[in-house]
């Protein structure tokens, strides 16, 4: 499967990064390496024996400063399937509620000698701030509107399994691009792998100068859908909006909702993706979301566990003194 341009060096040179704070900074072959590593976990997860003792004795802390269900669960399952002790720190029970700063929390987590820390935080850059303060690998599980690298990797894995290659693949990302870390990581990842990425949103939900990231900007969803091989829908993040960005969800659906009729504008075998949680009936209709042949939404969730296993495995290899990595 690996095309020549994505061969990678042996050992730690294949992925020389200490943590995973974003897709920015990753070379295409490093992304490819993580996707390849994830494949083995896809296979294992589909079998009856879903656990190895690779990370036995290691402690992984999931520090989620922002609510999450699927990402937290996905990281927890990934860690446990690799045999690690996984501890979830939810914001509601943390000292943050008592006024502790993020740096204090980072230092506390560091003192507990975790082997990897997974962070989700509502502020862009918060994960980098913690990564700079702790000794162990840090994985970004979403920071503000900045990046959500494992989501982009799992999306890429989902696409790769269905489409085999990225070169020239037309991917339309539609929705609240402004507030979406998923969009940013996916743009960086897919454009890096050679896809032709289109972004579509009303102007108020489109970040300035995003075309500088190598995408084509659309405001007309129908135009953006024409010839698309992959249609990635994003949720309207009403909780991040201060002021009125759109007249109403009903009007938004009128212009940007993915209906079965609209999907006809895309390629006949176009994939439909959504990082969830979905606003059914707003950005995506149920008969599209649940479309047996087209919707990859549950596959994305499945790939999420495999990708996170791959990331945890790769980033702890140095700590495990694995040959070629220590």
């Amino acid at each position: 499967m690996t095309p020549p341009e994505y061969t990678y060096p042996a050992g730690a040179l294949a992925f020389p990064h200490r943590g995973l704070t974003g897709i920015a900074g990753l070379a295409p072959h490093q992304i490819w390496f993580l996707l390849d590593e994830a494949e083995q976990w896809v296979e294992m997860n589909r079998g009856a024996q879903k656990r190895v003792e690779l990370l036995s004795g290691m402690t992984i802390i999931n520090a989620f400063f922002e609510n999450s269900t699927r990402t937290l669960l996905s990281f927890e399952i990934a860690g446990k399937r690799l045999g690690a002790d996984v501890v979830n720190m939810a914001v509601a029970t943390s000292s943050v509620k008592k006024g502790e700063t993020l740096i204090d929390t980072a230092m506390t987590l560091n003192a507990m000698r975790a082997d990897a820390i997974v962070i989700r935080h509502a502020s862009s850059g918060a994960v980098q701030l913690i990564a700079d303060k702790v000794d162990c690998p840090v994985l970004n599980a979403g920071d503000g509107q900045h990046e959500h690298p494992t989501q982009a990797l799992l999306d890429a894995l989902t696409i790769r399994q269905a489409k085999r290659a990225f070169n020239g693949l037309r991917v339309t990302i539609c929705g609240d691009i402004l507030h979406s870390r998923v969009a940013r990581s996916n743009i960086l990842c897919l454009a890096s792998l050679g896809a032709d990425v289109r972004v579509c949103a009303p102007p108020a939900l489109m970040p300035a100068d995003i075309e500088q990231m190598g995408v084509t900007v659309f405001h007309d969803f129908d135009a953006a859908l024409k010839g698309a091989d992959v249609v990635m829908m994003l949720r309207l993040q009403m909780e991040r909006m201060e002021g009125q960005f759109i007249p109403s969800p009903r009007e938004y659906r009128h212009l940007y909702g993915l209906t079965l009729d609209r999907l006809e504008l895309a390629e006949s075998n176009a994939l439909v993706m959504h990082p969830g949680p979905m606003n059914r009936g707003v950005e995506i209709d149920s008969n599209v979301a649940d479309h047996v042949e087209r919707s990859m939404i549950t596959t994305q969730v499945e790939m999420g566990v495999a990708i996170r296993m791959a990331c945890l495995d790769v980033l702890t290899r140095k700590g495990r003194k694995m040959e070629g990595w220590a």
């Binding site: 850059g125 970040p207 300035a208």
Partner: protein, 417 residues
């Protein structure tokens, strides 16, 4: 009368009020300059300071600082600063203004800026005349823009009547919202809440129109965009009572500097694009900008060691005001005389104080400086209450060797130190 002995600064290259530089001495008595010239000599009983051929310049006057931070001001050659009303509690009543006006004396003078509105909330006018009589030298909207145009008009009418200038923050708050960066590629890549730079021009356009209606004087504390500067330029050309200021960050840095989420570059207004930075340099050169101010706002780690959008805006700027302005002189953008207009004479004029230039009869606020002396900004070793400077580790040139407030030495640097 001062109890201190008269002072004569000898052997200096004296920067005179007309912009010329003359080798000679400056003699001060009773806190005022009494003689300047090549033939001026110390008299019996004078304290003598040998300037050793260095520049003898007026003490800097800094408009719009957020904290009284004497060690930093003295390091930077600043003898007077206009204090922003954004204090806790705000400077919106005469008692607080009176206290603030006394807070730096005798070796540093604070000129409080009266809050334009009660609690700086932009709604009801504060007791401006009473604050003026308590020592306020100008009126200020604080960190925020007054969104209600009716309130702003009435403010300008009132200050026009009182003969006070309004110092305004120029950013349309409706557009800015919770933004911490200027909309553009960098903010988009970092996923930071951002607002278009045009928020500044919109605010300036409205406020100039209102100031015209009220025939009042308005000073924009920070004009940082090409569009905003063009509006100021046009207004000045037709004789409007408009002046503009800027802080060194906006002619030294662009939004590329926020790239690593470094909160020391979190400023208000947010850093602009490179084209705007160049426009600021051009506006300093052509006279559109009247004042360069430090915007000194020392912030400790509890305000700055946070994710970018959660951190407080502001930088410690007092120590770098002079050397960064000197960089414009070295680059040939302006000459030495114009530099001191920007950092001393013009701000003093705006505040209506008898300082900011070396002339007989002016208050004896004097800085002896070596404009070429190289040093490296080090946030860990700054005199300021906090070292939150975006210029950390940057080599600069220009250092104050001695500083006198009212003819009394407040800072001496060992030669060679």
């Amino acid at each position: 009368m001062s109890l201190h002995a008269p002072l004569t600064v000898t052997n200096g290259r004296v920067l005179l009020a007309d912009g010329s530089i003359q080798t000679g001495a400056v003699r001060c008595e009773g806190g005022f300059i009494t003689a300047i010239g090549a033939d001026v000599a110390p008299q019996d009983g004078d304290t003598v300071h040998d300037a050793r051929g260095q520049i003898v310049a007026p003490g800097l006057v800094d408009i719009g600082v957020f904290a009284i931070d004497k060690p930093a001001f003295h390091f930077g050659g600043i003898t007077r600063a206009a204090l922003m009303p954004d204090q806790n509690p705000p400077l919106d009543v005469s008692a607080r203004v009176r206290f603030a006006a006394q807070s730096g004396k005798p070796d540093f003078w604070v000129h409080p800026l009266a809050a334009a509105t009660q609690g700086l909330e932009g709604k009801a006018l504060a007791e401006i005349a009473m604050m003026r009589d308590a020592g306020a030298r100008a009126v200020c909207t604080g960190r925020r823009w007054i969104g209600d145009s009716g309130t702003m008009l009435r403010l300008l009418q009132y200050t026009g009547m009182l003969g006070m200038v309004v110092i305004a923050h120029a950013e349309d708050a409706g557009i800015v919202g919770n933004a911490v960066a200027t909309a553009g590629e960098m903010a988009t890549r970092l996923g930071l809440p951002s607002a278009p730079a045009q928020a500044e021009a919109l605010a300036i356009a409205r406020d100039i129109a209102l100031a015209d209606m009220a025939n009042a004087a308005i000073h924009f504390r920070n004009v940082t965009t090409a569009a905003g500067l063009e509006l100021v330029r046009a207004a000045k050309a037709r004789g409007a009572r408009v002046t503009a200021g800027v802080s060194p960050a906006y002619f030294m840095l662009s939004d590329l500097s926020i790239g690593a989420f470094r909160t020391f570059t979190h400023l208000s207004p947010a850093l602009r694009c490179e084209a705007d930075r160049k426009a600021v340099v051009g506006a300093i050169a052509d006279g559109t900008i009247d004042v360069i101010a430090s915007g000194h706002d020392p912030r400790g780690p509890e305000d700055k060691r946070l994710p970018f959008s959660d951190s407080a805006p502001g930088m410690a700027g007092a120590e770098t005001l002079l050397p960064l302005t000197m960089s414009l002189v070295r680059d040939g953008v302006i000459d030495m005389a114009r530099a001191f207009e920007l950092i001393a004479a013009n701000p003093a004029k705006l505040l209506g104080v008898n300082a900011g230039s070396l002339a007989v009869g002016a208050e004896a606020d004097i800085a002896v400086l070596d404009p070429e002396r190289p040093w490296i900004v080090n946030s860990d070793k700054m005199a300021a209450a906090a070292g939150n400077t975006p210029f950390d580790r940057q080599p600069v040139q220009g250092r104050v060797l001695a500083l006198f407030k009212g003819g009394v030495a407040v800072r001496m640097k060992k030669i060679g130190g």
